[in-house]
């Protein structure tokens, strides 16, 4: 059984369970759909993903 990581969505408070994620990865809250960034795995910390400036294709 892969390790299940659990944290609260900083936007809507819903409980989020994930397995296969790495640091810096972007996931969406299954409840409110907001974009979250995996800031660290141990402890498992989720934060609102930063707004991306318009994409320049640089």
């Amino acid at each position: 059984m892969p390790e299940v990581l659990v944290a609260e969505c900083p936007e809507c408070g819903a409980e989020i369970e994930v397995t296969d994620v790495i640091e810096g990865e972007i996931i969406e809250c299954p409840d409110c759909g907001v974009e979250l960034e995996v800031r660290s795995l141990n402890p498992f910390v989720l934060e609102l993903a930063p707004q991306e400036e318009e994409d320049w294709g640089e």
Partner: protein, 267 residues
């Protein structure tokens, strides 16, 4: 005034290009040259055990993931080996070239993208330590100062962020920015293909001419890296550059042929 962009991909013949620049410069043609160095950078990065990593932005553009170590390798190849190799070729042909990066005198200046979102190995990621950005301002005064005193500016990324940090920027769009800033009549982009190809890599599918209005549609043909070149061309044309030509950098007199309309002409 013309601006010539020399691509960094395999197969481009720097000696033939230098011959042509020398011939044109001696004929009185005012010129600024911008060059890349991606193929060489990949080789050196591998040799130094820091293989290049490319990331694809959410809207599908690929760019080099430029962390601090990569930036140093990037500078070694672009500003060291390639830039001075070209300066030497031109000096030996009697052209008084001056090689500069965008950092020097802030010739290329623009915002650094502090955070970018990319797709890496199928995962959507936030990248923080990526020294990448774009060119918003060109130090035209320094370029004029050099041109008016008989020097040929030979420019290369990186650029300077507004805080003065080195940032990796796309060479083609930097060249377009120079063409805009100097009010150049033509922007010539030399690479290792005859021009924009309808179906890459079939060289017989060259698109000879694209009216300015249809540039956006040309984007569909453009393969990944070519997309950025076409974006650069569109920007240059919007800013008053009369003509952009994508031409072959592997042949004799590549610039003169491009000026004569050989390749993909956009106007």
């Amino acid at each position: 005034m013309i601006v010539v962009k020399i691509g960094g991909s395999e197969g481009i013949n720097l000696d033939l290009i230098a011959d042509d620049i020398a011939a044109l410069a001696k004929g009185g043609q005012q010129m600024v040259v911008v060059h890349g160095g991606s193929a060489e950078t990949n080789r050196v990065a591998e040799a130094l055990g820091h293989p290049p990593r490319f990331v694809t932005s959410v809207s599908g553009y690929t760019s080099r993931y430029t962390d601090r170590k990569t930036l140093e390798i990037f500078e070694m190849v672009y500003c060291g080996k390639v830039n001075k190799g070209l300066v030497e070729r031109l000096q030996r042909r009697g052209v008084n070239a001056v090689g500069l990066s965008g950092l020097d005198g802030r010739i290329f200046e623009g915002p650094r993208k502090a955070v970018i979102k990319v797709i890496q190995n199928g995962r959507r990621m936030v990248l923080r330590d990526d020294y990448t950005g774009k060119v918003e301002r060109v130090n035209v005064d320094l370029l004029r100062l050099l041109l008016d005193n008989g020097y040929l500016p030979l420019l290369t990324p990186p650029a300077a962020s507004y805080d003065g940090e080195a940032i990796n920027v796309d060479g083609d769009r930097a060249a377009a920015a120079v063409a805009k800033a100097l009010g150049a009549e033509q922007l010539i982009i030399l690479s290792n293909v005859p021009g924009l190809l309808r179906n890459f890599p079939d060289e017989s599918s060259l698109i000879p001419h694209i009216p300015r209005g249809q540039v956006e549609s040309a984007m569909d043909f453009a393969k990944d890296r070519m997309k950025k070149k076409v974006m650069g061309a569109a920007e240059a044309l919007d800013a008053g550059v009369r003509r952009v030509v994508f031409a072959d950098g592997r042949v004799e007199h590549p610039i003169q042929k491009a000026l004569a309309g050989q390749g993909t002409v956009i106007e």
